[in-house]
């Protein structure tokens, strides 16, 4: 069975339209976030208290809300997971004072209030209390991890391919991160540790996809030396198109299983992955390849502009460099 016999689609014809669509999605995402007052941070990063309680009987959220009405601060009460599980997530904001007793106060107050309200038997499923110090710490670590991973990948691709290719891959990664965050904003997911892990995975996945195409470009460049880079890249994208679609299809299947059956704790993670995989496939074809070609051509143009002015030694060196780039 074969999806495409030998596809020959000119992806470059649509690159500006593609950039437009991406920009639209990203801007809409930023707009949504802006109107909501910034990236919605989960308690991992913002600090605060989250308690998940499972009731023995069906308990409306409003009853829970009424029970904890006396606790100061902006509280969030929402259904957690499957409605039949009778689980409720209660969140309290960060408490300013940085003492141990105060940190636990929220969780204790919630349990006491619900006990006092007589909502029937219940069981505390999980408690997360994150102090401000840790929240800041985790935020920093998340940013460091992303930047360090990106730098590592940038260096690796520069070494194995060309620097302009590395820029293409990184452009695609940033595109995927921004699109994913935009979708998180559309669907009201918060940025938690798990979501950050998913974003980092997407980074790896997106680069993965891009490298497959670049590898093919490298291979094709050997036999198509005289062709324009744009044509070589477009041919490579077409040659690997079947693989790109099948892989993102099967990976989406596994992540979809995770989204549907993986439980509430991993739902944000799975959602992020799902969006990221679709975006990653799209960006590989439209963003990464186009950026790589664009940057390569600009470099070539710059080199051509510099060449006449430079002496004989310089031109020899750059010619050698160009040959090396071709060969690698």
């Amino acid at each position: 069975m074969q999806i495409f016999k030998t596809p020959n689609i000119n992806f470059f014809r649509w690159r500006w339209q593609a950039v437009g669509v991406s920009a639209l999605v990203i801007l809409a995402g930023l707009g949504t976030m802006w109107s909501a007052g910034g990236v919605p941070l989960g308690i991992d990063f913002s600090g605060g208290t989250a308690v998940v309680i499972r009731f023995a009987d069906t308990t409306p959220e409003d009853a829970v809300r009424a029970a904890i009405a006396a606790i100061p601060g902006e509280k969030v009460v929402q259904q957690y997971g499957d409605p039949s599980a009778n689980e409720v997530l209660i969140r309290l904001p960060q408490i300013d004072v940085e003492t141990g007793a105060d940190l636990e106060q929220g969780a204790t107050a919630i349990v006491d209030a619900i006990e006092a309200a007589g909502l029937g038997e219940f069981e505390v499923q999980s408690t997360d209390i994150v102090g401000p110090v840790i929240g800041r710490d985790l935020q920093q670590k998340g940013i460091y991890a992303t930047l360090a991973a990106l730098t590592g990948i940038l260096i690796y691709i520069s070494v194995r391919f060309r620097f302009s290719f590395a820029l293409g891959a990184i452009a695609a990664v940033f595109h995927d991160i921004l699109v994913t965050v935009a979708f998180l904003a559309f669907f009201g997911y918060e940025l938690s540790l798990n979501v950050v892990a998913a974003i980092l995975t997407i980074t790896g996945y997106s680069v993965n996809d891009t490298i497959v195409i670049f590898d093919r470009v490298r291979e094709n460049l050997r036999s198509m030396r005289r062709e324009r880079l744009e044509l070589v890249v477009n041919k490579s994208v077409n040659q690997t198109l079947a693989r790109t679609i099948i892989t993102s299809g099967t990976t989406s299947l596994t992540v979809l299983a995770l989204f549907l059956f993986g439980g509430e704790v991993l739902r944000g993670f799975a959602f992020t992955m799902l969006v990221g995989i679709v975006s990653g496939t799209y960006s590989t074809v439209f963003i990464a390849a186009a950026t790589a070609v664009f940057m390569s051509e600009r470099q070539a143009a710059q080199r051509a502009a510099v060449l006449p002015a430079a002496g004989g030694g310089g031109s020899k060196r750059s010619r050698r460099r160009k040959m090396k780039a071709r060969a690698s």
Binding site: M1, Q2, R54, G100, L103, E104, E123, V124, Q125, S126, T127, D128, I129, V130, G131, I134, K141, Y144, A145, A148, A149, G152, I153, Y156, L193, N194, V196, A197, A198, L200, T201, T203, V207, N208, I211, V212, D215, R216, E219, Q239, T240, A242, R243, I246, T247, T250, T251, L253, T254, V255, L256, A257, L258, L260, F261, G262, G263, V265, L266, F269
Partner: protein, 520 residues
């Protein structure tokens, strides 16, 4: 069959056997993280200022005593910050003597700055501050470790945490009584035995009034522990000496026992040094009142009937559980400083079990869907892909078990991603083989060319992902690390299964008979 191929097959079987042996039985060998098993994760901060303050206070009190004995009269002595105290009113004619005594008593730890009018400030030296802070964190770490071990938690983690140098990570898998665990870890358990100067009285003010509104130098007012107990008995207050005769450091052991009324109590035994000190002290103060103070509260106060040396008892309306816990914390030693919680995450055992079920269900569903697709799309070659993905998962589990790595919920997500990566490698290879077949090569040549050409691609993609996984592990915390671990080893084993195992399987089939059309 060629011998080369036989060796390849043998090595594959060998590695599988190794992985299988390493995993079996899975419920013992695969370590589950807190999010799957249930338990508590907490990050505590050691308030190192406490340790410094204690050092500053005791140094000041020691100097006070020496000055009194040497008949050097000074004015007010005040602790100004955890690292600083001030002595005022040193007269000009006693200045030289004052300097000599403070040099002798304090010079190693404090630097002295003289001000106007016989005023002196003493500040702890910066290198001493650093070493005291480090020391108090190290001590706290050891103390918590001892307490956690005595709690009988299996595979607890007590480790330094974060970059500040004053944080401690504690993970207690499977602990359900979180409040008790927290109480035990956090109780300072500072035991002091002090001489009572005045009291008991029914209020703090009464004691202070008798002394002109404030506690005399070197003394303080402490309350008893009745308000901590239920029953509503009004508390009593005692005026005691600041400097303790005996502290928790002089203890050899402590254990729960019963007092003369058959109520739970804690008995303790002093070490030889402590026993000697206590003997001298009680011998010199027969007939006076002695208070046993724990974390700043008087638990029992009794008249010294005779010289006491090694043994003592604390009673104070304890429950049996409380007496046992108290024995535990006293045995493990006092914390050098109080602790505050920075982070606490508790997962109930039901939620953990639910997560395991959900994770396994999701993994199996994902695997089944992918297997179905591969069979439909790649026909017989699909079996090859399914085998290599399944082996990949087995080897990954083997790695995890062998390295004693922890499987977390995001780790399960890592497993699912590994399925995705494994399938991707196979798709890459199969698509390439199809292309090679299209250029009218023989089956055997096409398979060889497909694997050869794709090998570099697979290497590149995997190295790039390994870089990402490595940084994820390096900077990540808790659950993210679990994810990075599975992803990392999943990638490693995938290079082996997708390239080596899958190719060997193809070659085995192709070596057996003459294949003219590949079912792919």
């Amino acid at each position: 069959m060629k011998t080369n191929l036989r060796w390849k097959l043998l090595s594959i079987v060998g590695i599988l056997a190794l992985a299988g042996w390493s995993v079996y039985p899975p419920e013992d060998k695969v370590r589950l993280g807190l999010d799957l098993k249930g338990g508590v994760h907490m990050v505590l901060r050691v308030q190192t200022d406490d340790a410094l303050r204690i050092e500053t206070e005791t140094s000041m009190e020691r100097v006070r005593e020496v000055l009194e004995v040497s008949n050097v009269n000074v004015g007010a002595m005040t602790v100004e910050s955890p690292m600083q105290f001030r002595i005022e009113g040193v007269t000009a004619d006693q200045d030289a003597e004052f300097r000599r005594i403070t040099d002798e008593q304090l010079d190693v730890v404090f630097s002295r700055v003289s001000g106007a009018g016989g005023e002196y400030a003493f500040a702890m030296r910066p290198n001493i501050v650093v070493s005291y802070r480090d020391e108090s964190v190290r001590q706290a770490l050891q103390t918590i470790e001892r307490r956690v071990n005595e709690l009988g938690v299996t595979e607890p983690i007590v480790a330094p945490h974060g970059v500040g140098g004053d944080q401690i990570l504690v993970q207690l898998p499977g602990v359900t009584d979180v409040d008790r665990a927290k109480e035990i870890i956090r109780s300072t358990a500072l035991l002091e035995i002090k001489l009572v100067e005045q009291g008991p009285a029914i209020s703090r003010e009464l004691l202070l009034q008798a002394n002109g509104g404030q506690a005399p130098d070197g003394m303080e007012v402490v309350s008893d522990a009745t308000e901590l107990l239920e029953g509503g008995v009004p508390p009593q207050f005692y005026m005691v000496r600041r400097v303790a005769a005996i502290t928790g450091r002089d203890l050899r052991t402590a254990r729960p026992t019963l007092d003369e009324n058959n109520l739970p109590a804690v008995s303790f035994t002093l070490n030889s040094e402590g026993a000697r000190k206590f003997g001298d002290f009680t011998g010199a103060n027969i007939g006076r009142l002695l208070a046993v103070i724990l974390d700043g509260r008087v638990y029992s106060a009794a008249t010294i009937q005779q010289r006491i040396t090694a043994d003592g008892r604390i009673s104070g309306g304890f429950t049996q559980q409380r007496a046992a816990d108290l024995g535990l914390v006293l045995r493990s030693g006092a914390l050098p400083a109080s602790l505050t919680y920075l982070e606490e995450r508790t997962v109930g055992p039901t939620l953990g079990a639910d997560s395991v079920r959900a994770g396994v269900l999701a993994s199996l569903t994902g695997l089944a869907l992918v297997a179905l697709f591969m069979l439909v799309y790649y026909k017989l070659a699909g079996i090859n892909a399914i085998l290599s993905v399944a082996l990949n998962l087995l080897i990954l589990l083997g790695f995890m078990a062998y390295l004693n790595a922890t499987l977390t919920l995001p780790g399960i997500a890592g497993f699912i991603l590994t399925i995705g990566m494994g399938v991707d490698s196979n798709v890459l290879i199969f698509e390439r083989i199809k292309e090679e077949l299209a250029t009218a090569k023989s089956v055997r040549l096409a398979v060889a060319a497909g694997f050869d050409r794709v090998f570099l691609t697979i290497l590149d993609t995997h190295v790039a992902s390994l870089i990402a996984a490595a940084f994820l592990f390096q900077f990540g915390t808790g659950p993210i690390r679990g994810f990075a671990t599975t992803l990392f080893f999943g990638l490693l084993s995938n290079v082996f299964t997708a390239v080596f195992v899958s190719r060997t399987l193809f070659e085995t089939v192709l070596a057996r008979r003459q294949v003219t059309r590949l079912s792919i």
